[in-house]
Subunit: 201 residues, 2 copies
């Protein structure tokens, strides 16, 4: 395959996907070219379209195709509560419980000092600005619920945010430890997440 | 994420990759959009380019960008030997040994009756036509080496090809089964040892 330039480039490009090694990439390239070229072209279009259309919500920072995402625009939601999650999959898990009616802030990451990921990398200032925004002269957000994952990095992230917000006099709660320690929200059953919401401290 | 059309379409498109479930697809889409849009656009181009450029070698059926692949064009190779493999990765493994100097035929699949994959699906007729090609009034291929995998499906494929070729009076051999180099007998499975005994030289 060494002389097969396009195929080699495709294998290399597929390796940039998370969790895909050289064997998987070869298997994927082989499968697409042999059995599913329509799927390959479909994927190419989906990649280009998403890169062009998907941006971040001005208010909650999650992925959206609009200036402000549908959740933040929803007038039925309680604007005094702001739930902080690591990523959109965690937000989806919380939404599926049906137990939360406030707004979200999606960090799109977590603090990870060992990997050199600091407050600036996950845009914590954006979160603080969001909380400090005044509506009719007062803070709209009255409670911040920290729903980062119950991993070492998620706990660190929650701790740092909690310290910064307490200094601001904002009411900060954390999901209850009904969620098994060491696990990631998107893999936890919905009932557990719902209880953890109700028991938040 | 339900209202996020481009993102949803990207997740669905990624799921067409072999071995990628909905969780992996979400993780990939998230990673690309958050951390590597350049990689996403690069992958899109690589997919389109490979689909446009990669075709099958007229002689050996492997992936190539030319009418006839570099291996089949190589005048230093022994044209009287034809090694039959399941896919390009198997061909690469044989090439890396440096022990084979003949030509190849790449099935791009294997017989799998249980999955409904029959002789037509892997183009066996193309292999037989290749072998029956006359050069100066005689068959150029004098030995066919069956190097399909030593799995149930690979063995079935080898068996079917061997039967068809013996009826044509072509000399057919099979890679030897035996104890892997560097292994100790007590850790080798009994079926392998039994075959190594039968195939002893
Ligand atoms: Zn939003
Ligand atoms: Zn060829």
């Amino acid at each position: 395959m060494a002389e097969n330039h396009s195929l080699e480039l495709l294998v290399q490009a597929l390796r940039r996907l998370p969790g895909v090694g050289v064997k998987s990439a070869q298997r994927m390239a082989f499968h697409l070219l042999q059995h599913d070229r329509e799927g390959a072209l479909h994927l190419a279009q989906a990649l280009q379209h998403a890169c062009a259309e998907v941006k971040h919500c001005t208010l909650c920072h999650t992925f959206t195709e609009d200036e402000i995402c549908p959740t933040c625009r929803d007038v039925r939601r309680d604007r005094s509560q702001l739930c902080v999650v690591e990523n959109p999959a965690d937000q989806s898990a919380l939404e599926r419980t049906g137990a939360y009616k406030g707004l979200y802030f999606v960090l799109m990451g977590k603090l990870s000092p060992l990997d050199g990921v600091g407050p600036r990398d996950i845009g914590l200032q954006k979160l603080f600005d969001r909380i400090d925004t005044l509506v009719d002269g007062a803070r709209e957000v009255r409670e911040v619920i920290l729903a980062t994952n119950f991993t070492a990095e998620g706990e660190t992230t929650a701790h740092v945010i909690a310290q910064a917000l307490k200094a601001r006099g904002v009411n900060v709660t954390r999901l209850a430890r009904g969620v098994p320690v060491g696990s990631e929200l998107e893999y936890v059953d919905l009932g557990t997440i719902a209880h953890a919401l109700v028991d938040r401290r």
